[in-house]
């Protein structure tokens, strides 16, 4: 135990840089996307680096990692990286290796080239039924079904601007999808079901009560058990009580499903960063391929592709034409669920006579 290593931190960032990056970091002059998925970076020194971006599954096995390592060994001297959106980038310094790498990737079959520019790149997502204890939906399966449908946009540059899709499998939003062009969000719709016989043994009642943001939980004695009661009218199904107290599960086959949100962005380019807004309040869980969700996402993408100006993100397009027009163009239904009724609600109500028919 005396020799036990702790607090050593990660390998330093330049440990795995190829030589061209060691030589040119901080000296890059410009980049050019030669074709979907293939980036060229040119340095002040004249040095060039080609990056070939491939989509993949965030959830993978060591066999898949080995496949990536082998391709990197063969074409990139072993060097590659992952992007923040779960893509793999093969870093090529020898231009003659570029075409053979692309052929090898095509032959592999599970590393499609794309994800650059004005298209749809890989979906950032959470764990879903694969690993999480609070999910309302699966993550990997929904992502697979949506990306199958949008596959053509991954390997092309034909949208007005980039479309960033993210998925979080419950309102905890480990995926922080709240500023995405399209957010796929798992939601619960039934209040927690309370296990009175075990609650006092599994949970601290005061912290459970304090966990509720709408003060819907109060102490209650049921038979001889110290427990809690939930005022269903005040429950907004956030799941925070379950996070604090395992005796209050929310998951339910009929209650759980998907809400779709649109028009968020994190970039400061042109317009300010934006939150995503509600497009579709609820779609039932439809494993294994979630066809209704896939269909709605496609509808939104196609309406945007048809109506937006070049360089306009989904949120910029919706704001230019007006949200009333957004619902018309996408064919989505507007309901009372689209009108906010929580903390910042009034900031979203229309306080002007300016609107469109």
């Amino acid at each position: 135990m005396a020799e036990r290593l702790t607090d050593i931190g990660p390998p330093k960032y330049d440990s795995f840089w190829p030589q061209v990056i060691k030589d040119n970091a901080g000296k890059w002059l410009y980049h050019d996307i030669l074709e979907p998925g293939v980036l060229l970076h040119v340095s002040e020194s004249g040095a060039k680096l080609w990056s070939v971006r491939c989509g993949g599954t965030r959830l993978m096995t060591t066999m898949m990692v080995e496949d990536i390592c082998k391709l990197a060994d063969q074409f990139c001297g072993g060097y590659f990286r992952f992007t923040t959106r779960n893509n793999v980038e093969f870093l090529v310094t020898d231009e003659s290796k570029l075409e053979p790498l692309k052929k090898a990737l095509a032959a592999h079959g599970s590393l499609p080239v794309g994800g650059t520019g004005a298209g749809i790149t890989n979906i950032v997502h959470t764990q879903g039924w694969v690993h999480c204890h609070t999910p309302a939906i699966d993550a990997s399966g929904v992502v697979k079904a949506v990306m199958d449908e949008l596959f053509d946009y991954f390997g092309s540059h034909k949208l007005p601007a980039q479309v960033r899709i993210s998925l979080a499998c419950c309102l905890n939003m480990c995926g922080a999808v709240h500023c995405s062009d399209i957010a796929i969000l798992g939601v619960h719709r039934k209040p927690p079901v309370i296990e009175h016989s075990h609650l006092d043994k599994m949970c601290e009642i005061p912290t459970t009560i304090a966990a509720c943001p709408t003060a819907a939980i109060k102490p209650q004695k049921v038979d001889d058990f110290k427990s809690v009661a939930v005022n269903a009218d005040r429950c907004m199904f956030c799941g925070n009580c379950y996070t604090m107290c395992p005796a209050m599960p929310l998951a339910d086959a009929d209650g759980d499903g998907i809400a779709l949100w649109v028009g968020g962005k994190v970039s400061n380019a042109k317009s300010m960063p934006k939150f995503s807004k509600l497009a579709v309040p609820f779609i039932p869980n439809e494993p294994p391929r979630w066809p209704t969700t896939v269909n709605y996402v496609k509808k939104i993408v196609e309406a945007y592709a048809a109506g937006a100006n070049r360089y306009e993100r989904i949120g910029e397009w919706a704001e230019r034409i007006g949200w009333e027009r957004f619902f018309e163009k996408t064919g989505l239904e507007f309901s009372h669920h689209h009108i906010d009724d929580y903390r910042f609600a009034a900031t979203t109500w229309r306080t002007s006579t300016q609107f469109k028919w």
Binding site: T6, D7, I8, G9, P10, P11, Y13, D14, S15, W17, I21, A25, Y30, H31, I33, L34, E35, G56, T57, R58, L59, T61, T62, M63, V65, R81, T83, T84, P112, G117, V124, Q127, H131, H133, P135, K144, A145, D148, F151, A168, L171, N172, M173, H178, C179, T207, A211, C238, A253, D256, V266, S267, N268, A269, K270, P287, P288, R289, R310, R343
Partner: protein
């Protein structure tokens, strides 16, 4: 040997052009990996029932660390014993996620021998996430990882693993050395990262420019975003090439054959209208520029950020739980970010001290600031109020004056008042 379960629903996810995680996990299961076979079995059950099958939590970890391992147990272990324990090991990624095959293979070797052989490349916060270990394997995994130079990331009410865009390593727009800042913060605050001691989680993310590719202003309690104070650098010869249609618009983002109409696409869409183009020369009134990156994005061969670079610091972003999602608010409009980043670290430590004293249990710093006010936070971190802190001044007329701001203080005698005013 792994018992393979029938998975008719998951098999549907082997169809279609996008890579299939089911196909990948199946081939590992076919090699005899029980965790892979049983994960697919349990997932198939979830697909049938439309409910997850993982128990709530479970406290496991490695000695001396309060985080880095997320406990997870199957609630149907009799059916799927290979995933009875399915703990997650968060491994702190190298900044910007660069790897060499030799180094990554050694980690995979540990994971094949001691874990499920399944992983996330990468988790939402940035870690390499080894997915599915039995409790007994955790200490040996940790010992083997550290022997190879890897360490665990953060979890719980601690500093979470900082992350960064690839910055200067491969981007011409990086105004700060994002990876170095990320590494320096990670190494300086190992104790805060490994031993949860705060009201709730705290995230740093470092973006090299206002394009915010790692979404720092939406996803991190403290966003460090590269920016500049001087003029955008213009190469007028390259501007002429764009005007002549020689270079593709936005670095080829719309295809190599889509060219720029500089007046319409660049000047016309500039949010501050601080640019002009006379057909030959592009002019920018830099004093009026808000550095949004639009023109630079569209003309990467002609325009570059200035050279007096540093960062804007935005604090308080978070996902909705509990009071609603927040984006970061500007706290330091501009700060130089040069090693060893002492000025920034002094700010960080003041910020943490205030939050540690004032934050409620499970309250992110953004919510503490909402509850106690931005002005109170600015006072705590000793930053003078500035119009750059707000989108607009308050319209609410109820101002909380403090006694020492008003001549004579708050204490008065009603008798004195009544001498002047009859009852």
């Amino acid at each position: 040997m792994a018992k393979l379960h029938p998975t008719p629903m998951l098999d549907e996810l082997e169809k279609g052009p996008w890579p299939s995680f089911v196909t990948d996990i199946k081939r590992m299961a076919a090699q005899g990996k029980a965790a892979c076979a049983d994960l697919l079995g349990q997932l198939e059950l979830s697909y049938k029932e439309k409910e997850g099958h993982w128990k709530h939590g479970g406290i496991v970890g490695v000695l001396g660390y309060g985080g880095g391992v997320i406990g997870r147990y199957s609630d149907v272990p009799d059916l799927f014993p290979g995933v009875e324990h399915f703990h997650t090991v968060r491994v702190n990624q190298p900044a910007a996620k660069y790897y060499h095959s030799d180094a990554l293979r050694k980690v995979m070797d540990i994971w094949d021998r001691r874990g499920s052989s399944m992983l996330n490349m990468h988790g939402s916060t940035g870690d390499m996430v080894l997915l599915g270990a039995f409790t007994d394997e955790l200490e040996p995994i940790f010992a083997e990882l550290t022997a190879l130079g890897w360490d665990l990331g953060g979890s719980g009410s601690a500093l979470r693993t900082p992350s960064a865009c690839l910055g200067k390593s491969r981007c011409e727009w990086a105004c700060i050395h994002t990876e170095d800042i990320c590494y320096e913060l990670t190494m300086s605050y190992q104790d805060e990262l490994h031993r949860p001691a705060w009201p709730y989680k705290f995230k740093f993310k470092v973006d090299g420019c206002p394009n915010c590719c790692v979404a720092s202003l939406a996803r991190s309690d403290c966003a460090i975003i590269g920016t500049w104070r001087d003029d955008i650098r213009i190469d007028q010869a390259a501007v002429a090439e764009y005007a002549a249609g020689k270079f593709a618009a936005e670095g080829g983002a719309h295809g190599q054959d889509v060219k720029l109409d500089i007046a319409k696409d660049v000047v016309g869409l500039c949010p501050t209208q601080c640019m002009s183009f006379d057909g030959k020369k592009l002019s920018i009134n830099n004093a009026e520029c808000t550095r949004c990156m639009h023109c630079i994005n569209l003309m990467p061969r002609a325009l570059r950020p200035g050279t007096d670079t540093g960062a804007s610091i935005l604090v308080g972003a978070k996902a909705p739980i509990l009071d609603g999602a927040q984006m970061g608010s500007v706290i330091i409009p501009f700060i130089k970010m040069e090693p060893p980043y002492d000025e920034f670290k002094e700010f960080v430590e003041k910020m943490w001290e205030w939050w540690d004293e004032n934050g409620k249990n499970r309250e992110r710093i953004g919510e503490t600031i909402q509850r106690l006010g931005l002005a109170a936070f600015l006072a705590a971190v000793e930053i003078e109020p500035d119009p750059r802190h707000v989108k607009e001044p308050r319209s609410n007329p109820y101002i909380f004056y403090k006694e020492d701001e008003v001549p004579g203080g708050f204490e008065r005698k009603i008798e004195d008042y009544r001498k002047r005013h009859a009852r």
